[in-house]
Structure formats: structure tokens, C-alpha cells
Symmetry: C2
Subunit: 634 residues, 2 copies
């Protein structure tokens, strides 16, 4: 019976010739995904033969010729021959981390936190009205009759029509004998009629949820008649060219023409993504009648063209936390021009609408006695700690490393990004998977965390982040005082350069994780709580599709707690925006929670720097804080 | 002693040689204005020597060489010689009619109807605020602090800042340690902050009152800090090129691009006049922070770009009567872009904001038991009848004749317009005065009424408006079946044609006056009231600067009532707009009166046509209605 070795675990098994490779892996205790049940149709059980021969002809059709030439086969369609075989198994979706399933981020959130169908009450809605015909003697204008018809259904709230809608009113009322469809926005006690069409058009109404991150912007198209998420797209914030973090953006915005430039850049990114989701969802931009946008306080200011300078100057007081009623045309977002652009409220200069949106995805909004922690890891790290009795929040500057920013070959989780990686303990060589299974063009947040953790676990870097120069590995190249780790040499790379990570990159990543860990520690210290007292830790952020929890603990980004306490909730800012978009109740909840939060300014805390310095090691200078650090190693 | 004959009255007197001409006139009982007291400085006592010689050298300096060459002299500076003299006296300001004094129309309105200084409370106001500096720990944004500072002074009303003002907030708060000037609008329960400036700038704040007539647009610049009227300018509404009355405008506006054209034309006229008053008042357009606009319902719709079609289609129901809160930028008026444009509310399709503004200049807004009538004579005639217990209103189509429209040589009361005229009973020749004392270029409303009345009084036309062909006069030319009356032959004319009035013109004028008289009669009939029961008749309108009451009664435009019952209130729409601009109380009063009015649709009244036909004579087919018709003749 030939010996089969599986990498990266080096688990081995002997199985009879002719056994399916998928079966052999399962017998060896190696997980290989095969959601199609071994029919050879889904292509998920792809593995790479690194030594030995198999008959892979039946893999064709699902895999490309190039993939097959590179040694890839489908484990379910490959039978073992007579000779020994080495098989590399890519890290598997949903096994090594908490997964964001394709497109439906709602799956990440505890079901009871999501709006129930009974709570679907979008801020924008379409209603079929029958407005009685004009009369000679009643002294009522068209506007009076429309207003009465709306108030008969929706109560005696003031009804507003912008000039553009007033211009269509006379014909809309008369085209179908008063039968018409009104698109309305309910904002607090007011009703805004943003569109009128004769006849019945209630079937089509769309909204967008938008997360404006310092590094990445995500836009989600939602069918407001069913509250279904139709499309999600994300891309780098074009402002990245003007500075990687909020402080450099604020500095850049000092001159008015540069503030205007940043405003143009963010709008360009948002509008491009809106066009993409609209095209993919077969929706006209004009049919998108509401947007809920969440972003940090600086991003909100830049979106609105407000000078952000005071955010970085003592006493750090911005122009606003709550945004007034503004339309798409006023802000410059290319959906229906009269759409309400609702911006999630901010708590402080460094705790913004992304957090008040994200909290909607956690138990922190519920009436629980248990103390929970929410960590949103983006270019800034923001934290919220509390329960029904108190809510405390703070922010720290992590930098864009976890979104691929400020890292030589860093990129966001787009096609070609190395998103999962393991390191061979013997050779030091990496085994990676890229988004879209293409040649690697960079490494994204999840890949960076996995790489650092595996380099540490396998001893190829030390706790200070230095690569091992003593043990030779083809993956490590020493250049003078600095060393780099080659993920993909030029021949394998999808770019005109090798994909690598430098010791400088590693320092950046260590600083980023230290900033976040230190902020957690200090916030808990302020509340007089230990990590062990936390019931749940919710983690949101833009790591790409995964956060490998185990690996995040290995590098000391997250505290070493029982794993079941952690909940990765993905892009919670985007998901919270979606919740607000489809539910007035969630909007009220968001405002209520914003009002309840107390803001802790870390910059005013000398203890923060101590905590930060102590955390500038992998996982930490105080290994007692990471009791599983050694056991993981095995 | 030489005989002096004064025209047009043919009064004569003999005085010693050397007597001042002014003294001679007074002795003869001929009124000549001399406000400077005979010092030769004001130039108001100008008369024309039509026969005989005087020494006029001392008139030079005030009169032009050309005027002197044409026979004009100053009566106060001219001494009578030894030979007989014929002297033509122009009709005199303020004697023959109810005058609008130069620029200050408020003089026309009974003093107790004008806002008292204690009631000066403009819709827009400037306030000096001291906003406390930002604090690290209070959780208040710049907007929160500004809002609190305003609410501390002005109560717990919601405070709104548009995006453009939010963009200036951070710097405005910090430039002078929180001392700043806020320009605010109070609209109902809301405060809108439309401008912020560091420091103290409360001294300069301006508003405009605007009357948008079908034919003429008037704009008035007002200093809102003192409620003083600074400048008034008027001009034809550029829409005139697209139709002379509201019905033809409505027809023109049927195609969307033509509605847009009418909208552009009215804005162009308004904006040109705004620039003129601003330049004359040495005010930057940006310092004008509020506008109150009054116009008929069609004009309002065209200003806002609302399709007016339904105004002329049964059941005559327009898009709106009350205009929502709209800014200058939204409408397209070139003053401070965030200015509130308050439009006077309308009562019906044919009783608009010009009437609800005009009523503020009458006793109809007071708690009187006496029954009063308000007649606004423009291209449309609108009437309001009532007292504290009832208010009834109707409208009729007079056509633009009284504003110089649809009349061959008609023009508005601009430089060169014949505004006063008398007809020599013997020769039939006219004696006229023009606006600006230039050569005549046309005839305006007041001139038209005076001319018709004098032609009738002197027998040169008959009650059906036909010129006397039997008696030869150099002023009457018969061309086939038609005859024309020459006001100024080519040689005297300021244009390349003689200034004349045709029998067709006279028919137009008779139709216009008949429409108004018939509407008055029908409205009173509906209320069960006779003309004699009226306590006061208020007359507003765009006749130029005068309405010669006696002459308006002679032609049957106004009912034959004791003269002291009539009050000419000039452009009451403009004046009412001014009152609203400077007083919240007047705005409330205007809304209250608008709600109280009942609208009578004349087009649904067969009796109207009977009344109209009966009024198609000068003064009327039923001479019993005009008892003074014969006595006037002498």
C-alpha cells in the first residue's frame, strides 16, 4: 500500500491503490471540503500533488489546464496509484477561521440580533395611493389632496415634497385618475415624498448600505421590498493615495482644495461601487431611493466636505456627530437625487458611525447583564465594552496593515490576494491560497495574520518579529541587516516582482496588533474588569473574508480566552448599515446606543503607552497572558 | 396789463408787467408746484410758453438748453413782459390723482396699517453669539454647542444648518474665540442658520420684497436692520414675449422646454432687478438674506417651474397655494444662496399671493365691521370684499392694457412714457407730461386712463369709444374705417414713429375697465351689498405712478362713489411683501387672512357676462350708476 503524506500537517496514511484521494484524506484525519458531495462539480476539494503521480484526467472541466499542469487535482476525482504521494491541502474555508459566507454576511450575526420580518420597516418605502380628483369648491390644491391622502395612511405628520417632486405632482395625480405610487422617506416625525409615479410601482424599490472605511469602501445593494441583500462590492477608498490613515488624511485636508479633492475621491469610489452593484443587480441607479452610510468621524466629515482638522487638535471636537437630513444630490451620491442619505451617528472624534452601526450586530445592544466587548479592527481600532448598565468606548490607531495598507506587498482581499497561508515547519516554504485561485498579486489581512502566526509557530520568526537567519530556507532572503520572507518568487507571482513580506512589514503588523491589544487591556482596566469576565468578544473588521481566530491569538492581537467566546462578525459597519436601512426600529436603537456611550480618550492616558509597549512582542512580553501560546505550537 | 392764458384750463388773468409768472398762475387759480419755495433750484415749476415772449435766462442751470429752446421756463424765475402770453401748465404731481411718492410707497398706506417699530421682526435676522469653546469631556460637537447657544436666546426650537454653513462652522467658531454673527431665518417653529461669520457683523443685513406681475416685476431693497426701503426698481416681466396674459403664458408653458423657458425668463428679470437695486444701494447680492415674493398663482407656478396647465382647466386646481421652505439656490434667485424665499400664499387659481400681500395694505385685515372693497388692477383684476366677519374674493381677466400691454404705443411707466395728459376742448390737441420729462416714447396706464377720460369729457370720443370724425382736429387722423388719435407727431416723438392711440386700443381699454367693473358689481351682488354701502375702496395696481381717480370714474373703471372713500395704495403686492419681509406678525396675519377667504369663480357665473356687456360703454350703459358723469364734463 503506498504511503500518502499530507502537507502542511505531515499527517500520513497507507491506503490501497485505487482509493479515492478524498477518502484517504478523511481516513488520515485531514479535512478537505467537498460540498458537492464528491461529484466533481464544485471544485472545492482541489489539492496539489507535490510528489508522485496520479491520473488527474477526470479533474478537467472544473479545473483549468494551467491548474492541472501546476499539479492541482480534485481529491474526489483522483485515485491513488501504486507509488507514494505527497499532497498539499490548502487551508479550508470555514475550518480554520470564522468564515464570511459568500455575499450573505448576515449569516455571521446571531439570528436573534437581525431584524425579524415583522421589524422590516425600511426608512424608504413605496406606497400605492388613491388621491381623490380635484374639486372646484373644496379649496384644496394638488399638494393639499396628496398630503391628506398620505396623512390618512401614515398619521398627521408633516409631509414634505422637494421642488423636483412638486414639478411632477399635477401630471402624476391626473395620469391614472389619482392612482399613483409615492416613494417616501420617514425621518423622525416627518414624511418626505421623494418620487411620484402614476400607477402601481410598489414592486421595485432599492436601497444601499455603505461602509466607508479609511482604507476600504463597501457598498451593498438591498431590495427594500423584501429586505434581501442583492449585491456587495468593495474597493479601496481612493483617498488612500492622499494618506494611509485618518491623521494623514486630516493633514492632507488642511488646504480647501485638498479637502475638496478628498471629498471628490470618496464620492468617486462610492459612486463607482454603486454603479457596480446596480449593474450586477439589474437595477437602475434611479431606483435606489435610500442610503445608510457608516464610517468613522473623519470619513463622515470628508464625505460631507466638512473640514476635519479639529479632529486631530485638542480638544478633538468635530463639526458634528449627528448628520442633518441631507439628500443624495446635496452630498453627491449618484442614486435617486432626492434620496435621504442617512449617516450613522458618531460618539466622538475617533468613535464613529461604523461603530454605532457595528454594535447593532452584537449583544451590546441587548438588555443583557453579561459584559461584552466589541472590537472593530480597521485602520483605526475601536472598542466598546459594556452591558445594559454601561457602555464605554475608546479608539486606537492600528494603521492600515490589516487591510493590506502600509505593507510592501499588502493588498485588500481582492482577486489574487493571498488570504490563507501555512508555513512548512521543515522547509520554511509557504503553502497559500489566493482569492479567486489566481496567481498571487499580494497578501491581505487574513493572510498576514496567518503568515505571522505560522512563522512564529514554526519558529521561523522570533517573538520580536525577526526572521531566523541561522536556519537556511529557500523562502528567507537576507539583504544586509534586513531579511525578507518570500511568499511567491517571481516565477510564481502574478506581478512583475516576487510577493514577499519584509521585517519592516512585520514590525508594522506588530505595532498594529499591539495598539489594539493595549486598548482592550486599558478599557477593561478602566471598567475594573478582567478579560476572563467577558461573556462575549465580537470582532468586526476588514480582514478579507476570514479572521483565523487561533492565529490572531497566537500573534497576540486578541486575548487568549476560551475560543467559544469569540464571534467574528465581519464587516459589522456594513451589516449594521443594512439593518438600519431596513428597519426604523434599528435606527432608533442605534441612536439610543450612541447617546448611552461614554468616550475614553486614550491619548490622555499615560497607562496606554505602557500597555502598548508591553504588547510589542509576539504574542506579548507577559506570556502569562497567553497561556495557550505553548500548547498551540504543537 | 398783458393778458395771460393758462392751458389746458383756458383760465386767464391780467397782471402788471414784471409780475412773476408763478404769482400770475396763483392769482389765476392755476396750481403750479414749487416745493423749493421759488428759489429756482428744484425745477418743479416748469411750464411751457406756447405764445409770446419772456426773459427766461434765469431758468438756465436747472433746465437744459434744449428744454429752454423748446419754450420751457421756470415759472418762479420768469417775469411777465408787456405782450400777451399763452402758458401751458403740465398736470401736476399729487394734484390730479393719488400719487405714489418717489420710492416710498409706504406713504400711500394708512399709517396704522404699517408695522410699528415694535413690530419690526424680520423673517431673517442677524445675531451676535458667543459660543463657549470646545471641551474634551462634554461630548458636544461644534454643532451641538452652536445649537445650544442659539436655543438659549431663541427657545427650544429645532435649529437647522445647511451643508454649506456646516462647512464653515469649525473655523467660524474658532476664529474669534467663539464670538460670531449668525444670520438666521425664523420659519414657523424652526430656526435656519444660513450664514456664519466670526466677529460682529450685525450692522448689515438686507432683504428684498418682490412683486411678480404678469406684465411688470418690481424689486425693492430693504435694510432689515432698520426696516427702511432703500431702492425700488421695476421692469417688464421678460415672459411678456411669450404671451400678454396668464392664459397665453399657461398655453405657452404646455411643452416642458417652454415651461423651462418661462421659468428662465422670470428669473432673468428678477435677477437683473436684484442686481440693479443692490448696485444702487451699495449692497452685495450676498448680503441679501431673505426675499418675500408675491405674485398671482400662475406667476408663482412659473417662478417655481411648476406646470401651470391645470390653472386654466376645469376645475382650476393648481399644484399648490402654500409654498414649502425653499432657498434662493433651489429657486435660482441670485442673492445669498441659502436665503429663504418666502412666497405669499394663494387663495385660488386666480387669486394669488399678490392679493394676500396687497390686503395687508387695507382695512380688510383689521377687525372692522365696515365693509371694504379691495381692487387690484393688473393684467388680471382681483377683488376682495368683506369685513371681520366674511371675506369674499374673485378675479377677472382685464388684460394688460392698464400696464401698457396690448396697446399699440403702450408702455409701462418708464422714462418717456406719457403719464399725464389733458385734451384741449377746442383744438383736440393733447398736452402731456412724460416720465423723466423726455420726448415721449409711449403711453402708460395712468396716461391711457387720463387720455380716454379727457377725450370723453371734451367730446372727442363718444361713449362707445369712437373718435369724432365730424369735427376736424390736427390730432385725429382717419384711415379708412379706423381713426387714430395722435399724441405726439413724428417730429415730437422720442421714437421713429408718432405716438398715437387707435380705436382698437380704445376698445381694449374699454374691455379691460368693463371686466373690472363687472366683477365688482357681481361680487357685491353675491354679498347682497350695494356700492353705496361700501366704507372704503382700496385700489392697488400697476398704473405707473398715478391713478387719476376722477378720470377712472369718468371712464367707468371705478364706481361713482364719494371720492373720499377711495384709497389708491399703489403696488400693494410689493408693499405687502415688504411688510411680511420686516414682520413675522404680518406673515401670520397674511396666512390667517388667506385661510379666511372664500373664492368665487366668475367663469361659473352667467350673470358676469351680462354685467360685462353692460359695462362696455363709457362710463356704462346705465348712466344712473354714474350720477356725476354729466357734472364732471364741465
Amino acid at each position: 500500500m503506498p504511503l500518502i503524506t499530507f502537507q502542511p500537517s505531515y499527517k500520513t496514511i497507507e491506503v490501497p491503490s485505487g482509493t479515492e484521494l478524498l477518502t484517504a484524506a478523511r481516513l488520515a484525519g485531514v479535512e478537505v471540503d467537498a460540498p458537492c458531495g464528491g461529484k466533481g462539480t464544485c471544485g472545492k476539494c482541489v489539492v496539489r500533488i507535490t510528489a508522485g503521480q496520479v491520473d488527474a484526467s477526470s479533474s478537467l472541466g472544473v479545473l483549468t489546464q494551467a491548474a492541472v499542469a501546476g499539479g492541482e487535482v480534485l481529491a474526489c476525482r483522483t485515485h491513488i496509484g501504486t507509488a507514494p504521494l505527497s499532497v498539499a491541502i490548502p487551508a479550508v474555508d470555514g475550518r480554520e477561521g470564522l468564515r464570511i459566507t459568500g455575499g450573505d454576511e448576515t449569516a455571521l450575526v446571531r439570528g436573534e440580533l437581525l431584524p425579524r420580518p415583522a421589524e422590516y420597516e425600511p426608512l424608504a418605502f413605496r406606497w400605492r395611493l388613491h388621491v381623490p380628483p380635484a374639486q372646484l369648491d373644496d379649496g384644496l390644491s394638488d399638494l393639499d389632496r396628496l398630503t391628506r391622502s398620505i396623512q390618512r395612511e401614515w398619521g398627521q405628520n408633516p409631509v414634505f415634497l422637494p421642488l423636483s417632486v412638486l414639478r411632477t405632482l399635477a401630471s402624476a395625480l391626473r395620469a391614472r385618475q389619482g392612482e399613483l405610487t409615492a416613494t417616501m422617506i420617514r425621518a423622525d416625525q416627518e414624511i418626505h415624498v421623494i418620487h411620484l409615479e402614476p400607477g402601481n410601482h410598489v414592486a421595485r424599490l432599492y436601497g444601499i448600505a455603505v461602509d466607508i472605511g479609511t482604507t476600504t469602501i463597501a457598498v451593498q445593494l438591498v431590495d427594500l421590498t423584501t429586505s434581501t441583500i442583492l449585491q456587495t462590492r468593495s474597493d479601496y477608498n481612493e483617498q488612500v493615495a492622499c494618506g494611509l490613515d485618518v491623521i494623514s488624511r486630516i493633514n492632507y485636508a488642511r488646504r480647501p482644495e485638498r479637502l475638496a479633492e478628498l471629498n471628490t475621491r470618496v464620492l468617486r469610489t462610492v459612486n463607482r461601487l454603486v454603479l457596480e452593484v446596480a449593474a450586477a443587480g439589474q437595477v437602475a441607479p434611479h431606483e435606489i431611493c435610500n442610503a445608510v452610510i457608516s464610517g468613522n468621524t473623519t470619513m463622515l466629515h470628508l464625505l460631507l466636505g466638512l473640514p476635519p482638522e479639529q479632529i486631530r487638535l485638542e480638544p478633538y471636537v468635530p463639526t458634528l456627530f449627528y448628520t442633518p437630513y441631507l439628500t443624495a444630490a446635496e452630498i453627491g451620491i449618484q442614486i435617486h437625487p432626492e434620496s435621504w442619505i442617512y449617516c450613522s451617528p458618531c460618539v466622538g472624534s475617533y468613535v464613529g458611525g461604523d461603530i454605532t452601526a457595528g454594535l447593532l450586530c452584537t449583544d451590546l445592544v441587548t438588555e443583557t447583564e453579561e459584559i461584552n466587548l466589541f472590537i472593530d479592527i480597521g485602520t483605526n481600532g475601536e472598542l466598546v465594552l459594556g452591558n445594559r448598565d454601561f457602555l464605554m468606548t475608546c479608539a486606537c490607531s492600528a494603521g492600515p496593515a490589516f487591510e493590506g495598507g502600509g505593507i510592501e506587498c499588502g493588498m485588500r482581499a481582492a482577486s489574487g490576494a493571498i488570504e490563507r497561508v501555512t508555513v512548512d515547519p521543515v522547509t520554511g516554504l509557504p503553502l497559500y491560497a489566493t482569492v479567486g485561485h489566481t496567481k498571487p498579486t499580494g497578501i491581505c489581512g487574513s493572510g498576514i495574520i496567518a503568515l505571522l502566526a505560522d512563522l512564529l509557530r514554526t519558529g521561523w520568526i522570533d517573538p520580536s518579529g525577526k526572521l531566523d537567519r541561522a536556519r537556511p530556507s529557500p523562502a528567507i532572503q537576507v539583504q544586509g541587516r534586513h531579511a525578507v520572507y518570500i511568499l511567491a518568487p517571481l516565477a510564481e507571482s502574478g506581478r512583475d516582482r516576487p510577493i514577499l513580506i519584509s521585517e519592516l512589514d512585520i514590525e508594522n503588523i506588530i505595532r498594529a496588533k499591539a495598539a489594539i491589544y493595549a486598548a482592550c487591556a486599558l478599557l477593561l482596566q478602566h471598567a475594573g474588569i478582567t478579560f476572563q469576565e467577558l461573556a462575549h468578544v465580537y470582532i468586526g473588521g476588514g480582514f478579507g473574508r476570514y479572521l483565523d481566530l487561533e492565529k490572531a491569538i497566537i500573534i497576540g492581537l486578541l486575548p487568549d480566552l476560551p475560543r467559544e467566546k469569540f464571534h467574528y462578525i465581519g464587516n459589522s459597519s456594513l451589516l449594521g448599515s443594512y439593518m438600519v436601512l431596513i428597519s426604523q426600529e434599528y435606527r432608533r436603537r442605534q441612536i439610543a446606543i450612541t447617546r448611552r456611550m461614554t468616550y475614553l480618550d486614550l491619548s490622555a492616558e499615560p497607562a496606554y503607552m505602557e500597555q502598548y509597549t508591553a504588547a510589542l512582542f509576539l504574542p506579548h512580553t507577559d506570556l502569562k497572558l497567553f497561556p495557550s501560546a505553548h500548547t498551540i505550537k504543537a
